[in-house]
Amino acid sequence: MRAREIDLKLQEADRFSAQEMEWLELGPAEAALAEAIVTEPADDGTAEAAPIPWRSADRRRRGRLLGLAGTAAAAAAAVILLVLGGGSQSPPRAYGAELVRFAESTPLLLLEGPDWRVQNVFQVSSREGLEGSMEFVTGPPIPYESTKISADYTVSGMAPKAVRQRKVELSWRQGELEFPAPPGAPAVRPVESPVLGTTGLVNPRAERLYIFTRTGERRIDLGGPGDRQMVGIWKEGGRLLEMRAWVSNFADFKERLNWLTKVDSETWLDAMPAKVVKAADHDATVREMLKGIPLPATFRPSRVPDGGLTTNRYQVGAAVTGTVSCLWFRQWGQARRTGDRAAAAEAEKAMATSRRWPILREMAKDGAYPSLVWQLAAAMPSGEWRRGWRLLPHAEALGCARQGIPVLPWKQRRQNERAEISGRPLDLRP
């Protein structure tokens, strides 16, 4: 027996062949494990298992680019409200109770600097509570920015200094009044500053990044003299507020902190870009967005969720294309399980056209949701997201279960069990 024959015999005897592994339905359990690991606190309890010391076989080898925009698609489905556009100069209007409730769930803050306006509002409901942010800009709109740091630590994708300094980000979340430094990085030395009747802390050198490398932490300076990023934090009503801005100096940052003003809900809503408060014709928008999209037999416009507050085209577009895609993925999954080749091929063919869906092409300028749809569609013929990774659990990232169209069989069963418990009729539609 030659060496190759020995290896073949070993492969034949393998109880966990690639094919057998393929049958395992472990996606949700594997995802839960990954999620649990990244929430684990630092602890040396398991450190002895690491292979130390590890010496690279090729020290000149360079790593791949680390993208920063990868998680945007997953976040998109949880967004309650996102608006983009110009400032509103319209006269005072009466707002619906739902909008007022939404406004009141935010900190009701505006940046009342000369010629500054709201560009973006974003709030998600997480396990920890409501988290949100606002972008204030002056001058022309500032597009979505995706910064990358390559393996040789060069930075690309940052907006020019003059553009960065026209934007202020305000965010809110649960948290402590502190600047946690990453392990190995020097502690932040904050400066106290008054803000909205309380005392906040300012990190005046937030443009310095510390990233992990094989040899330890490495510092990258994204700014320089006259181009600093500063972050101010303070507590209000149990939540942590944060203002982040690129400025020339500390005096400029303090000026922006002083511009922050607490307002009532009507004033806050008045400051929103006009299209937030115009009760958009949801149904007409959905119909318009469906143009050029092949629809499965199970599609009804009423299946597109209408959050009431989702008036931004990006969010409506995500709801529309998400609904259609989830229905196609559900059909595809069922067809593959039952061996219905025609139905699977129909779904693959329909999703293969997604690169040409006008609304996705429009949305691609503002975020990563279209790219996720396209990647999922491209993976349909192989049935694998990546080698060894089944596609359907990843298709759920479109928010299918949240939209009431779970694509995984166990999620469908759970949905039907819940419906049964609550006394609602079962959703047995494909």
């Binding site: 359990a29 990954a34 690991i37 990244v38 450190a47 998680t71 974003f122 990233i211 094989r214």
Partner: protein, 188 residues
């Protein structure tokens, strides 16, 4: 909503999470498979996977990039497994769900009916590991050497000997099987 590479403290965590999820997506399944092949009970493999990736998360700064990351994970999983085999078994709550799924979907296999596995089981640990890394995980001898922390030359030499020993064992079993069949034939 950290969209920019600008946060001190916040961004490294984002980097870390992005890097970790890439590592996990790319390699979790194969580490699970590696652990399953070497665990007495399928659910033990869940703990090995959980502990291996927990080490990776906590020591992300030490995890090399590219193909080396894969070897690093295997080397870590090997140390975790060695600890388990020494009785330092951790039942981590992190792996509860994966453990339960493996228990449900992979009921305990009956004793092996595959002579190669029987032959492997009777071999020295070092020989068995090298044979499995090359034969089942399909590593080259130099990659297996990296996982085992030995030189490529040592791995090649040991592999050659280990294959010879396995061949001999399979030969013995083959002869024994033939003998048994002849005896059964005569008894009839």
């Amino acid at each position: 909503m950290a969209r920019n590479a600008t946060a001190e403290g916040e961004l490294p965590r984002e980097f870390a999470e992005a890097r970790f999820s890439r590592l996990y997506e790319d390699h979790e399944r194969e580490i699970l498979r590696y652990a399953l092949r070497r665990s007495a009970e399928p659910q033990d493999a869940a703990d090995v996977v959980a502990e291996t990736f927990l080490v990776a998360w906590r020591r992300l700064g030490e995890v090399p990039v590219g193909e080396e990351a894969r070897l690093w994970l295997y080397a870590t999983a090997r140390r975790v497994l060695a600890n388990h085999q020494r009785g330092i078994k951790r039942r981590t709550r992190l792996a509860e769900r994966l453990r339960e799924e493996l228990r449900r979907q992979l009921p305990l296999q009956p004793a092996s009916d595959r002579p190669v596995l029987d032959a492997l089981a009777g071999m020295a640990d070092a020989d068995r590991e090298l044979l499995m890394l090359v034969g089942m995980e399909e590593f080259s001898p130099s990659e297996a050497a990296r996982v085992l922390g030995i030189s490529t030359m040592a791995a090649r030499t040991r592999l050659h000997r280990a294959r010879r020993r396995l061949r001999a064992r399979l030969g013995e079993e083959w002869e024994e099987k033939q003998r048994n069949e002849i005896e059964m034939g005569e008894a009839r």
